[in-house]
Symmetry: C2
Subunit: 717 residues, 2 copies
């Protein structure tokens, strides 16, 4: 196929070149982008037309008339230490007044909360007063030298994404887009009517690209116009008095500011979620699904497609949640930064197609004279391609200024090869299941809901505290492994029969390690039995960590290691010697454990230590009855680590003998087989020549691959 499955941006006055690039890249769809519009003529050249559509912002004519329906959030003041004199808490301190304003429409006494953060106690509302002129709360009763905070309801008067773009690009006097809450009656009616009219006014739009629906992920700026708080999963901006009342009616109990404030953590995904927060997520998701569905139906009634951008105002749509399917979307499009984000998009169920927007974005930060945008493009493509080979997105695309990309002929050429290669491999594998050697379950407090989304703070941003764990999903995203995401409730009565290996990864106390879930003896016994009967458990970082009953790692008896917290220093630790031979690695293998751990010690001589340094076990395995435990102190992504991790999975599953089926010895090379087609691909994931021994299901041979090459072969070739 020479054409199709590719979306490109375009812009005004760029007709001829757009046609040329469309032909060159085989694009069949054109989209607008932030800051670009498509000419009428462009819309008539036979491409599918995507048009970006904002539901709950970008309509200030309406919003300014209905400021009582603006979006809202509970915010926490700074902590103020009381002294002997009346404490005053200037609760807006540190917030950007252009984004957030105290909501005095509702009575603060009904919704706001003042906490003694030294004791954790709520202060009765008769014991504090709000000064609405000056925005402070004064306390009438307090304990000197305790810390106090005010949790207040704020109106969000600037859409976070527009605010970000506005501030970053210095848009000056350009009006601030006010986000309104479609849970409120006027807004609810408005968005539907507007969409109906808009569809009529935009007959050339084939695909309404919702960017996105109703509620932005939590993003607050500070008074210096810098990011103050960001949580890509945050439900912070979904609240309102109406929402709280409807919640109470449905769930039979009342939510308070503190359910959102959460001691200042605002229900970060790293917190083990409370039942109240889980209920609220479900409540919002059901509402969002129901309302989004209505918009989608309007789109469908106008014979257009409805596509959702995975980001920005996506809160409540979570595609792996139980209510997403009700929305009835045709497609989801998202930004592809690596293999993990590719799979996050490509695995989305209940849509007709998914689309990945590839990097680089056609913006001047990359497309400037003297820079080679091909480098980023290659890295992006080669990183994502191994995930595509497991589960492809249905389309790929680009964004930004096409005219800018057009100035870089080498880049234009490279994209031609990418789009051709994508179409070729899509044609080969879209409808077939790749060979899978093992099925793993990722066990954390979120499970399926946050599939391919663990350890994420802000979309695809690097944090020192997470990179050592991101290698797990990034490795798996392109390997011959099936991946299921499980929460603790899912496995309490037993691990699904098809799971070979469970993986628990993260820092102690977090939702990803599991925190207080590991108090549960039933969970521990269920997992212990499962491993004893042959299951494999891989723990990374501080897995199964909960300090109780003489252990920190509650499954230390399976992993063969625990962490010394200082309480068992009196007990001699004998076992520090590395084994000389092991299936997972040999003596010479270099492994990067990232931030790694200290104070991990082996429980007995039965623990096989593979790496020991800095006074700590970094990698170990441990037989437990018929099953196995494997411990890594960290697993940042690299091709070498991915291969080690794959070997560890096979080892944990007692399937060492099967590793050398569809396997490449060189970690920069991978093999993907498609049994139904009796074809396989040998892939060079790098931009350099690679040589590797390749194992098929029957034999092995050595292959030399050109930079970035993908070679398709038949089983019997």
């Amino acid at each position: 196929m020479e054409k199709g499955r590719v979306t490109i941006p375009s812009e005004s006055n760029f007709l001829a070149e757009t046609k040329r690039l469309m032909a060159l890249w085989g694009a069949d769809a054109i989209r607008d982008s932030d800051g670009t519009k498509l000419d009428e003529e462009l819309k008539q050249i036979g491409a599918k037309i995507y048009t970006t559509y904002f539901v709950a912002r970008g309509h200030n004519d309406f919003a300014e008339k209905h400021l009582e329906e603006v979006q809202q959030a509970f915010l926490l003041s700074e902590r103020v230490t009381a002294t002997e004199t009346t404490p005053k808490i200037w609760f807006m301190k540190g917030y950007l007044a252009e984004q957030l304003q105290p909501n005095y429409r509702e009575n603060p006494k009904d919704l706001w909360e003042v906490y003694d953060r030294t004791t954790g106690e709520k202060i009765a509302s008769e014991n504090w007063e709000v000064d609405q002129e000056q925005n402070f709360v004064s306390l009438k009763k307090w304990q000197p030298y305790h810390e106090y905070t005010v949790s207040f309801l704020a109106s969000m008067i600037w859409d976070p994404t527009q605010m970000y773009n506005h501030i970053t690009n210095d848009w000056g006097e350009k009006p601030h887009e006010i986000p309104f809450d479609i849970r409120q009656p006027e807004s609810n009616a408005f968005v539907k009517n507007f969409l109906i009219n808009w569809l009529a006014d935009n007959p050339d739009t084939d695909v309404v690209r919702f960017t996105t629906f109703f509620y932005h992920f939590t993003l607050f700026f500070n008074d210096q116009k810098k990011e103050k708080f960001v949580d890509w999963f945050g439900y912070g901006s979904t609240v309102s008095l109406r929402a709280l009342k409807e919640f109470e009616k449905e769930y039979g109990y009342k939510l308070h500011a503190e359910d959102f404030i959460d001691e200042g953590y605002y229900n970060s995904p790293f917190r083990v979620p409370s039942q109240a927060f889980l209920d609220y997520i479900d409540f919002v998701q059901r509402f969002v699904a129901n309302e989004a569905k209505k918009l989608v139906e309007i789109v469908h009634d106008a014979n257009r497609e409805a596509m959702m951008f995975l980001g920005d105002n996506w809160i409540g749509t979570e595609p792996y949640g139980p209510h997403f399917k009700e929305i009835g979307l045709d497609a989801v499009v998202g930004s592809v930064g690596n293999g993990t984000t590719l799979r996050m998009i490509s695995e989305i169920p209940h849509v007709k197609y998914t689309e990945g927007r590839f990097l680089p974005y056609f913006f001047p930060d990359v497309f400037y004279e003297g820079n080679d945008p091909t480098i980023e493009a290659k890295e992006n493509w080669l990183t994502a391609r191994r995930a595509i080979l497991r589960k492809p997105v249905d389309r790929i695309g680009y964004g930004g200024y096409l005219s800018l990309a057009n100035k870089f002929p080498e880049f234009v050429d490279y994209v031609s090869s990418v789009t051709a290669e994508f179409r070729d491999l899509y044609a080969r594998i879209a409808d077939v299941t790749p060979y899978v050697g093992i099925k793993v379950g990722i066990l954390n407090a979120w499970g399926k809901l946050r599939s391919w989304q663990t350890h994420m703070v802000a979309h695809a941003l690097w944090y020192q505290q997470i990179y050592s764990y991101l290698g797990v999903l990034e490795s798996l995203s392109g390997q011959k492994i099936a991946v299921e995401f499980l929460n603790f409730t899912d496995i309490k009565t037993g691990i699904p029969a098809d799971i070979d290996v469970l993986i628990n990864v993260g820092d102690a106390g977090t939702a990803f390690s599991g925190g207080k879930n590991w108090q549960d003896a039933t969970l521990i016994a269920t997992l212990t039995k499962w491993v004893a009967n042959g299951g494999g458990l891989i723990g990374i970082g501080e897995p199964t960590a909960y300090f109780a009953n003489g252990r920190f790692f509650q499954l230390a008896h399976i992993l063969g290691v625990d962490k010394e917290l200082g309480f068992s220093l009196s007990t001699d630790k004998y076992f520090k010697d590395e084994v000389s031979e092991h299936f997972i690695i040999d003596k010479a293998t270099q492994i990067d454990f990232g931030e790694r751990q200290k104070n991990i010690y082996a429980l007995s001589e039965k623990t096989q230590i593979l790496r020991y340094f800095d006074g700590s076990v970094q990698l170990a395995t441990h037989d437990f009855s018929n099953g196995r435990g494997v411990y890594f102190s960290g697993m940042p992504y690299s091709p070498e680590n991915a291969q080690i991790f794959l070997r560890a999975i096979y080892y944990a599953a007692h399937k060492e003998a099967e590793l050398n089926i569809w396997y490449a010895e060189n970690p920069d090379v991978e093999v993907h087989a498609y049994p139904e087609k009796r074809q396989y691909a040998v892939v060079n994931n790098t931009d350099e020549k690679q040589v590797s021994k390749i194992y098929t299901d029957k034999r092995n041979y050595v292959i030399t691959l050109a930079p970035g090459a993908i070679e398709w072969r038949n089983y019997d070739e």
Copy 2:
């Protein structure tokens, strides 16, 4: 003074050389050592004679006849994972049968405990049975895939110190000394009678050197004859049915095996002590003091002196405890490894004199051909001397084989200079108080009871988990700082008026950081008020750590930093820049933070960051109202660190202007002033030449000091 204050060992057939060395070193006392005896003639040369005396071991004739009175301990079995078939727990597995035997004299059902360590629940005694032939417990009721342990009462049939020497020196058939329990009636009578007779039989003994009294610190070996568990403070070997019954009678509640087993941590000093354990410590201390007093009185009745060795069977005598003074000892002798252990000995109250045994011990591990024992001697002396200059021991001494030391003439010469120097400085400062600039309080769960004994596992042994904290006491041991040890109860109603700076140092959850003590809002408010009113707080490692109410460091508001545990990653951390100038250090200063910390972040721009690396604040200061907080991520000992720490203390106390009084700019040099004598010492703590600017109380000048030199000057010189 040319003679005195020095104790040396001697041995058989070494009379003439002993006399020569006594004269050379000015020794006035001779002692025996492990494995050496003094000839009759030696005892007549005019020296004071110390004789090592074992109270509760070394009397196998008695002990073998009264095995029902042998010392005992509660031991924990390995954790055994139950399956579907009857679990059996071989509780002796891993213990050395030559040291420990299950005690079947008492009914196991009355004293032993079986725990489900998965749930933390005790199993009713009707649900398990002991097989006394084969030493296992079988369970009659259990939950499959839970872990179970047996806590059993064991008889300790080999004294740990003799066992250590026996195994280390391969003593073969030499009988194992059986420790007996003087809480039992026969033993109690025996030790008194034996001492009375012994004193009559040893008329030349002037000083009975008790090594030591009744109960050894906890020390168990494993079945490979290697150390399995060691706690220099452990009360593990003090238990018996009689002790438990007497405790119950006195305190009105019953102790159980688990009160000693403590989930397998055996009440490590790093555990925040339970009230039951504190009660038990008090109970044992009162008993030991009372019984030891009787022996001391017997010694005094025979007109001899009673000296106690600080170690081995010292449990219950803790010299900083409330009951020590009742013993009525004349002296305590202990091993000096550094400044901290020197102060641990020299500060002991309620004795007529203290004696420090210096290193190296005259054993072949150091005194062998080709090695220079002077190197260790110099390091030991120079390290301890700075502490002696603050608070001297009253005597110094050596141990081991004198004949061995005699073969190293350079060493013999060096000891001459040490003993002469010791006598000189003792004469100068013994009765005067040195200049003190600031008073600090070390705040932990142990307080005064464990003065100069924080973060210690086995006496003076290095552990990776503690060295980063030991620099605090080691620095203070030789500085112009007064030191008080405070526990959390001591300060709940207010910090003593003379304290300028409080120091809290250690890992989260430990007794030294404080753990759950930091749940207490009263404690937090008291400290907050105290700092607000001008106090200084220095936190090191994970100070004031208890995860609650939105904080990990409960005094983060004072320290200006907290630790990121993963829950506040969504909140932007802006503050990473180091200040360009600061009183404590300048830009070029090299600091070793030891194991340091990760993920420490500054709360606001008010925190002055002095060192930031590895994504973490390592050193910071923070003004809090009229007081100050200082944070160090670690403080291992070095002369450079000690000086930085001293500067930090002055800074925290707002006394920067007073630092340059009796101060040396070169960290290898220190100044000790004695106002009553209007004299001061300038000391070179190294074995190399040093140059330093010196500050007196009025002026400054530059001095050059020979290696190891100590120069005495008058104030007005």
